[in-house]
């Protein structure tokens, strides 16, 4: 395995807080290519990476610097990933070590602590790059068809744009969308264009019965006036982000994040108003009171554009993140079937567990529920998580270590948001708090918590989504059930179970993140037992 390690100084933000040479001292032995650069997103740096991939025949790359979140929500991050994949790297072999938002910006005054923590996180990323197996891509010629949910001004404008670009459009409404479009006074010309268009179809009194698939290739079944109708589309536009029924029906099958008011939201309402966590689904922002018409139209344009950018390619590739089942282990107990919230797991004719990849959202709950470890999540594999816990326990950070399992949907972005709060308030938390990213609270196996205490962590905290906010529906609820039952196991070993904490959080609650970590440290200071040895 030839590994490339690229470390960003982030224009001085990283190296002012971290001794980079020391932080990469272990990783240097593992990597074929090591480069410390000013910014990973600079054109010449990227050109260098692409050249290294060819020259050094790299199979894996660790990008140390910005957060995983940055790669999901920023153009620069997305673009870099795309270029690396185009150059032949498997997406699962591009691993991010977040030493900026979760280390350098968090511990600006503690260089020794920040360096040790960065070193540990880079080591974890390196070993993940080494253990992660390549993921397989499903290529699709994307359908130039969109399903728009809710007939609103935004819906009509977006539909008109899409039709004009040659897309076909289904406009589904919970009541009388066609009539409202016909009667619309303000958008008369737009409505007329759509109503007369051969590629436009209105479905009234609709609700969603079923859905599966991915960007470029969705299949959605709607119920309308006593009939069922199935549509195959390339993308979905949620034009009523405030209608709970649509959100709830969508969330049964696809990933949709909701904000604190219960409305559907994009990945970052500030910078990406339309794109959601599910790349084929776009939303329009919730209208403010007296929203000017120009904003409404801009929102529609933005949503249509976001979808078109995704679909106006020759092929879209969906990388499936769930492994096939290990037939030497699976006995068909069906624990996975009962835990899957999307109906993706099933027991086949062969008596073994299978996954309908079109329904799988890679939350990892089936992996956790599997008592024999017959299945894995490719991007968050069991061996990586156990290894990460053990490796972080060795981090040479000062003081008692605390391990944080951060749900990728809430806790992890909240930890990133904390960096802004820390810069403003000057209040931070100890560098001995060590984070592990998990895709969903539901990915947390009791084994990882036990492993953490055995490895010597003083406390373990799980940051997970608020009730009703988990984009895997009940990943947080299932995790709570498991972890609260695990308390009995901890107590049976004389471990004080208050060392294990579950915190609910929203992705932008940086202040709460800092408060909660510090609160746990304060509570742990008062505990006498649970660490073994004479007390």
């Amino acid at each position: 395995m030839a590994l490339g390690l690229y470390v960003s100084r982030a224009s001085g933000k990283v190296d002012s807080a971290i001794d980079i040479e020391k932080a990469i001292s272990d990783a240097r032995d593992e990597a074929a290519v090591v480069r410390v650069v000013d910014e990973l997103f600079d054109a010449d740096v990227q050109a260098r990476m692409l050249k290294d991939i060819v020259d050094a025949e790299l199979d894996a790359i660790v990008l140390a610097g910005h957060s995983v979140q940055h790669y999901a929500t920023s153009l620069s991050g997305q673009h870099l990933q795309e270029r690396l994949i185009d150059a032949g790297l498997n997406p699962n072999r591009i691993v991010i070590a977040n030493i900026l938002e979760q280390v350098a910006l968090v511990h600006p005054e503690d260089k020794a602590g920040a360096t040790a923590k960065a070193r540990a996180l880079i080591n974890v990323a390196v070993s993940r790059a080494q253990v992660a197996k390549p993921v397989e891509g499903h290529s699709t010629e994307p359908r130039h068809a969109a399903l728009i949910l809710g007939v609103t001004t935004e819906a009509l404008v977006a539909a008109q744009r899409l039709l004009q670009l040659g897309y076909s459009v289904i406009l589904a409404d919970r009541t009388d969308g066609r009539a409202r479009a016909t009667e619309a006074s303000r958008m008369r010309a737009t409505a007329a264009y759509i109503l007369g268009h051969p590629k436009a179809e209105f479905i009234d009194n609709a609700h969603m019965l079923d859905g599966h698939g991915w960007l470029g290739d969705f299949e959605v079944t709607l119920h309308t006036d006593g009939n069922r109708a199935t549509f195959r589309v390339g993308g979905i536009v949620l034009a009523r982000p405030d209608v709970r029924e649509w959100i709830e029906e969508l969330r049964q099958h696809f990933k949709v994040d909701i904000d604190d008011d219960g409305n559907a939201r994009s990945i970052d309402p500030e910078t990406h108003p339309a794109e959601t966590v599910d790349p084929g689904i776009v939303v329009v922002p919730v209208r403010q009171k007296d929203e000017p018409v120009r904003n409404i139209i801009a929102s529609a344009d933005s949503a249509a554009m976001a979808l078109v950018l995704r679909l106006s390619v020759d092929t879209t590739v969906h990388f499936s993140d769930v492994s096939s089942v290990d037939e030497s282990l699976c006995g068909g107990c069906a624990s996975c079937v009962r835990t899957c919230a999307f109906g993706a797991c099933y027991i086949g004719e062969d008596g073994l567990s299978h996954v309908d990849e079109r329904r799988c959202r890679a939350c990892g709950k089936c992996v956790v529920s599997c008592p024999v470890g017959a299945r894995d999540i490719m991007s968050s594999p069991h061996d990586h998580l156990v290894g990460a816990v053990r490796s972080l326990a060795e981090a040479e950070v000062p003081g008692e270590r605390v391990l944080g399992f951060l749900c990728g949907g809430c806790g992890y972005p909240a930890a990133d948001s904390a960096s802004t709060y820390i810069a403003e308030s000057g209040t931070t938390y100890p560098a001995s708090f060590l984070p592990v990213r998990i895709p969903c609270g539901g990915r947390l196996d009791t084994i990882y918590v036990l492993e953490a205490f055995r490895a010597g962590f003083n406390g373990v905290v799980v940051f997970r989504c608020r009730e009703g906010h988990c984009h895997n529906l009940i990943g947080n609820v299932d995790m709570d059930r498991r972890i609260n039952l695990l308390r009995t196991v901890l107590r049976s070993r004389n471990l004080d179970d208050s060392r294990l904490r579950i915190v609910d959080i929203s992705p932008f609650e940086g202040e709460r993140f800092v408060e909660q970590v510090n609160e746990l440290y304060a509570a742990l200071g008062g505990l006498a037992n649970g660490k073994g040895g004479p007390q």
């Binding site: 699976c330 006995g331 069906a334 036990l450 196991v489």
Partner: protein, 296 residues
């Protein structure tokens, strides 16, 4: 050519595995045709001799067990760990949840203890593999006679031998219905003790009837004899993978199947999940906060 030499030692256990071997009846005669037994519970008084195949039954529970095991291992070529005590630590391993002095006080009264000819207990119960290299592991409480003979046969021939690794549901004949449905509801609205139920469907998965069955968390190879006979699996063969905590996985697997509130109020959640495998747990013993870590 001389026959391969077979030895059998018994550490902390009930000798039930030995009884399982004796259950071979005529099979024993066949075994004696191909091996020479140099040491066994029936050859009392003899000292441990050099051997080709060593059967070890029972867990390490006393200082003597440890000595006997180390001595026998040094004299043996192939070691077969026989039964759940040897492989997993076994039921006796549940004593790891208490400091040794509490265990002794519970049995002999405060300050009391066994007579001085009884060897001292080790601080905790260990599986054999904590001390020595195990070549073949045959879990089960007790292992089936045929399984045992098959493993011994392999050891004599120098063949690799392992039990199938799937979980017990693979062998279980009981039908799953609700377990196969996609639903956010639990398969039962409560958790019942076996005796609490008026009737038990003999053909339906125990879990669906609200009865905790360790089948999913337990390695197959026993032929699902308990569930066939109307008893839920107790987990005696241990986990399919030894790195998969049987007790922890009981929680992981069942938390979305049965109401966790009801699981929580089981009389003995720990004893259910860890009945046979406490000594190989990630946390093999409870911390003894007064006398130090009882693992030491």
């Amino acid at each position: 050519m001389s026959k391969p030499r077979l030895a059998h030692i018994v550490l902390g256990g009930c000798e039930g595995c030995y009884v399982s071997l004796l259950d071979a009846h005529e099979g024993l005669v066949e075994l004696l045709d191909v091996v020479e037994i140099v040491h066994s519970p029936l050859t009392a008084g003899t000292s441990m001799k050099e051997c080709d195949v060593l059967l070890v039954e029972g867990a390490v529970t006393t200082e003597r067990d440890e000595r006997v095991l180390m001595d026998a291992r040094a004299k043996a070529d192939t070691l077969v760990a026989v039964g759940s005590c040897a492989v997993l630590g076994g039921i006796g391993g549940l004593r790891n949840l208490y400091p040794t002095r509490e265990v002794l006080a519970d049995v002999y009264g405060e300050g009391g203890g066994p007579s001085k000819n009884v060897p001292d207990l080790t601080a905790r119960v260990h599986a054999v593999s904590d001390f020595v290299k195990v070549d073949i592991a045959v879990p089960g409480c007790a292992p089936q006679t045929e399984t045992l003979l098959s493993a011994i046969g392999a050891a004599i021939d120098g063949r690799a031998w392992d039990m199938p690794r799937r979980n017990m549901c693979d062998e279980c004949k009981r039908e799953k219905r609700a377990m196969l449905e996609h639903s956010v509801d639990f398969v039962s609205d409560a958790v019942y003790g076996l005796m609490e139920l008026e009737t038990i469907d003999p053909d339906l998965c125990f879990l669906e009837q609200g009865v905790i069955c360790m089948g999913p968390m337990t390695r197959e190879g026993c032929g699902a004899r308990c569930t066939t006979a109307g008893m839920p699996c107790r987990g005696c063969q241990g986990p399919s993978r030894v790195d998969f905590e049987q007790g922890g996985k009981t929680i992981d697997a069942l938390a979305a199947v049965l109401p966790p509130g009801a699981i929580m109020f089981l009389d003995d959640l720990i004893g259910t999940g860890y009945r046979y495998s406490m000594p190989i747990s990630i946390f093999p013993s409870a911390y003894d906060h007064e006398g130090g870590d009882s693992d030491e």
